[in-house]
């Protein structure tokens, strides 16, 4: 398969125009215009995605890879055409290296589950970081439990940055795998993964990157990063839930055993001996989420219309404005003040529980997340019950940031 050239932006970024393309943004909540600042949990979907999924079910629905009839061929083509789309989006060398999964969690489980079957041995070390999402912790703990491997953790400092020196010191002859989050969903920290991958590779250790929070906010090129695996969810990049991608270097995907068995992943089955399909199909057992994958393709097409640098600039403005205005309120503790950050602002109000604040803010029509954000080890480290998290996407505006800050101010007044 041929490499696919990255697409060039076809339109200039205009936030009002963008907003008009996301139907849900016109909703009212408690009689006020919705301010949706929970994009790290999931993003909203543009019309093109909704229409694409609708059109698929209305006029193209058939099972893929199975029928010779026209409809099945069309469905297969539509589904398979998303592979080169994702290849270009992630900068992969070949479309074979794009495995469709249910999402990031599933992608990590594919690798961890597969590595439990012969790759990990007793005493091997799996190196994670202290800011991982539970979905990049628990699959490795399961793998460790099954194989006798042990999980080691790279410490995080008070500002929410990885201790890279400690990381380098932890890499050792027993390290068999490194799994790191590209962008922290709780802190917004962008980790120096390129360096970390090079460090691991210098000792022959493979690296998996959890890219769930990265792909909507900046360019990703897996060949450039040289990571061995990269995981993402469509729903965090304006696509539907229940679908995502595992990028894996072909040499790894070829070498690892299948994770789940079923239809589509085999080449021949008999009770004596079953042979597996080629990659990526070897890792795609059963009827996939066809509409979801096609919707994911539409989402990536949508995002690719823009120059991602414009999106980054816009989001950077939002984060800077939110950070500045929240700090100006006083009595605020920002959680995660790394030098390199994306579109996440996590904070606490002195003396107030994030659950109370989020509940009151909701009454003002502002959707933020409260809680531990599936990063309990990080909350334990900071000795906090959770945070309030405002997370931005390309359709948020400076006015919405002002609505957030105003809501926080009013919530504090109300609760104190």
């Amino acid at each position: 398969m041929q490499p696919v050239a990255p697409r060039l932006a076809t339109r200039t970024f205009d936030v009002e125009q963008v907003r008009s393309e996301f139907p849900v943004l016109s909703r009212r909540i408690h009689d006020l215009p919705l301010v949706y600042l929970d994009n790290a949990a999931t993003t909203q979907k543009p019309l093109t995605v909704l229409e694409r999924i609708d059109a698929y079910y209305r006029s193209e629905n058939a099972n893929v890879h199975r029928g010779v009839h026209t409809l099945s061929q069309e469905a297969t083509e539509a589904y398979e055409s998303v592979r080169p789309t994702m290849q270009a989006f992630l900068g992969a060398g070949s479309a074979q290296e794009i495995v469709f999964t249910k999402g990031t969690t599933d992608a990590i489980n594919v690798v961890a589950g597969s590595m439990s079957r012969g790759y990990f041995r007793k005493g091997d070390e799996i190196l994670l970081t202290g800011m991982e999402h539970h979905s990049n912790i628990v699959p490795w703990q399961l793998a460790a439990e099954a194989t006798g491997a042990v999980v080691k953790v790279v410490p995080v400092d008070d500002r929410g940055q990885l201790d890279v020196e400690a990381y380098q010191a932890l890499l050792g002859p027993k390290t068999r795998m490194v799994a790191i989050v590209h962008v922290s969903n709780t802190l917004g920290t962008i980790n120096p993964i390129r360096q970390m991958i090079a460090d691991a590779h210098s000792m022959g250790i493979p690296v998996l990157v959890d890219g769930a929070q990265a792909v909507a906010h900046g360019p990703v090129n897996v060949q450039d990063l040289d990571c061995d695996f990269y995981c993402m969810s469509a729903h965090k990049v304006f696509g539907p839930t229940g679908t995502g991608v595992l990028y894996g270097k072909a040499e790894w995907l070829n070498q690892l055993p299948p994770y789940q068995g079923g239809g589509d992943m085999i080449s021949a089955v008999s009770f004596e001996r079953t042979t597996y399909n080629e990659i990526p199909h070897k890792f795609e057992a059963g009827t996939p989420n066809i509409a979801g994958v096609i919707g994911m393709g539409a989402a990536i097409d949508y995002l690719s219309e823009f120059d991602i640098a414009d999106v980054q600039r816009h989001e950077h403005q939002l984060v800077a404005h939110a950070t500045g205005e929240l700090e100006a309120l006083g009595g605020i503790r920002l959680i995660g003040t790394a030098d390199q950050k994306t579109a996440v602002v996590s904070f606490l109000l002195d003396g107030l529980h994030p659950y109370d604040v989020a509940s009151v803010i909701d009454r003002f029509g502002v959707a933020v997340r409260s809680g531990h954000h599936c990063t309990q080890p990080l909350m334990d480290q900071y000795r906090i019950p959770g945070t309030l998290r405002a997370s931005f996407a390309l359709y948020n505006t400076l006015d919405e940031v002002d609505r957030l800050v105003d809501a926080v101010r009013r919530a504090r007044k109300f609760l104190s």
Partner: protein
Amino acid sequence: MAAATSTIEERAAEVVEEFELFDDWMGRYEHLIEQGKGLPALPDDYRTEAYQVRGCQSQVWVAAEPTDSGTIRFLADSDALITRGLAALLVRVLDDQPPEAVASSNLAFLDQIGMNEHLSPTRKNGLDAMVRRMKLYAESLAAV
């Protein structure tokens, strides 16, 4: 706390009536938080893992003691104001009632006071688990 002579239903109706006096969420929330402030302090002995109901978002502790008159006494607390308010309402309605009545109680009043958004298990504030825990205590007391 209300007199032991009133039933769970009567106390629940009283709570609903009180909340009906407020015509906006601010009033209802303020009243709820006030209720939490009136909740008797939870003795430290109960502020332990064994009495903790872990919600995803806020923590709740709930304990029960039998009384000499055969009713059940509830004690509760939470680290969040809104959750503590909801805990206070539950204690107010269920405290000092016969265990059988608690075990079989219908707590629909929580839906009727305009706090339903806090009741869904997905909200993960521990309220749902707190109700289950209170009923469990009552069931085990009723069985003795």
